[in-house]
Amino acid sequence: MEILSATHVFKAFEKNEVLKDISFSVAQGEVVAIIGPSGSGKTTLLRCINQFETVDYGEITVCGDKMVTIEEKRETEWIQTEIEVEMLSDTSAAEELLEEGAVTKETQLVERVINPGRSVYADKETLRKIRLNIGLVFQNFNLFPHFSVLRNITEAPVAVLGKSKQEAEAIAMELLQKMGLAAKANEYPYQLSGGQQQRVSIARAMALSPAILFFDEPTSALDPELTGEILKVIRSLAEEHMTMVIVTHEMAFARDVADRVIFMSDGVIVEEGPPEQVLGDPQEERTKQFLLRYTEN
């Protein structure tokens, strides 16, 4: 069963096109790792799916609920344009040089947008339902500093799902046990290490039993020696067949835990497939370049 599907997603900040026709889907129990250089749009994609940003165009469906749907199709055409091989800003000079045969013109296919299309968002009710099906783990945890560890985890099940305090606490303690943090239940976030805080934030997201869990670079804010404990937790969630999408720079981890790896660059999905293929035997030049730079560091 498909938990998430995103098709033809476009998103721009002013003139900066950040997501350009992104399509991918995630099946139940699947673990998808998204990799790619800085600025390629990974966070923006996650933020669009989590309703922190609105898409300009595209369709997103979560657990069968349509969050945003295409109402008017996007239309483009391919047109031939002539471009100077040597770019010159002064056109008259360019003409002269062209006559002399010093430069040549070439034709190139360029995609022109005839109609940007239109997408519409679902009603509030549906958006809220979708939100509750999605869990999100932030790069810098964002725990609530004024709540104890336990209350960080129980507050949403009680206030949002209407669970009883006892039930919420039982679930929270079970999760903390799994994270190896049962002894920290009554401490406050500032008393924990970064790795412990991140584990609490994973427990906090899990307490709402989301259908899919998103991670945006869950280990990037941690000291290198603390990343291991987070990766271990995510691995154990994967073993329980939790559906997850993980944006990460940890290539070894992606290879180890992911069923599928998506490589993004400049707002497009360049390549996707099983980790052995994308990370071990990339087909695209951009993927190769990226991985090469990675192994160098």
């Binding site: 989590n50 309703q51 809220r128 939100r131 932030f138 810098n140 964002n142 004024h146 949002v160 976030p189």
Partner: protein, 216 residues
């Protein structure tokens, strides 16, 4: 002339009650209203934000004494209404003036809360109201305790301004007694009264700060 403490002290105690009334009633108006004004100041909509900014500019940019005169004489000079209560107009002026200062403190506090807190709350499905009252406001309160302490102390001292529209408060009684007895003693007694009040305010804030010290 020898100061007659037997009559001075009861009169000053009585007047202190008026000062305290101004103090507490101002807080009752300004603490909640400041929150509303802060929300307006942070609004996305220009039609709300703009008038709020004008209000803040006027209230913080002109002397409180001028505002007191304006509120006291305004009803008669502008609308011909006679017999407005001095104390009521005094409290209105103080309330609206302190609302502006509190609003700016609230706003600073709210803006200092990282966006991540809002986003984490939204991701967990909290409604806007729940996010504000459960997640944001408690953290704002902790951050604004020190600047609020300053404002409260200033307010205690500012109540002395009420005498410009002939509200009989502590300083008014002291000043009249001082000229009557031709003595500085009433001023010193008033100073002690203000000091005691502010010492209590200071202690209350210290206590609150300690109480909120359980997290960082």
């Amino acid at each position: 002339m020898k100061v007659d403490f037997g009559t001075l002290l009861p009169a000053m105690l009585q007047a202190s009650l008026t000062s305290l009334a101004i103090f507490f009633l101002t807080l009752i108006i300004a603490l909640p209203l400041g929150l509303v004004i802060a929300a307006g100041r942070l609004s996305k909509h220009k039609v709300i934000r703009w008038p709020v900014q004008v209000y803040l500019l006027i209230m913080r940019g002109t002397p409180l004494m001028l505002q007191l005169f304006f509120f006291f004489f305004g009803p008669f000079y502008i609308f011909g209404i006679k017999g407005v209560s001095r104390l009521a107009m005094c409290i209105l002026a103080f309330g609206l003036n302190y609302t502006a200062y509190f609003a700016e403190i609230y706003r600073g506090g709210m803006e200092s809360i990282p966006v991540g807190q809002h986003e984490a709350a939204a991701a967990l499905g909290f409604t806007r109201e729940q996010t504000f009252f459960k997640i944001i406001l408690p953290q704002v309160v902790k951050r604004i305790v020190p600047p609020m302490g300053n404002e409260f102390m200033t307010l205690v001292k500012d109540t002395a301004l009420a005498r410009v529209i002939a509200v009989v408060e502590l300083f008014d009684v002291a000043a009249k007694a001082a000229s009557g007895y031709v003595s500085t003693v009433p001023f010193i007694v008033a100073a002690v009264f203000y000091l005691v009040m502010n010492a209590i305010v200071g202690q209350a804030f210290l206590f609150t700060e300690r109480k909120l010290d359980y997290y960082r």
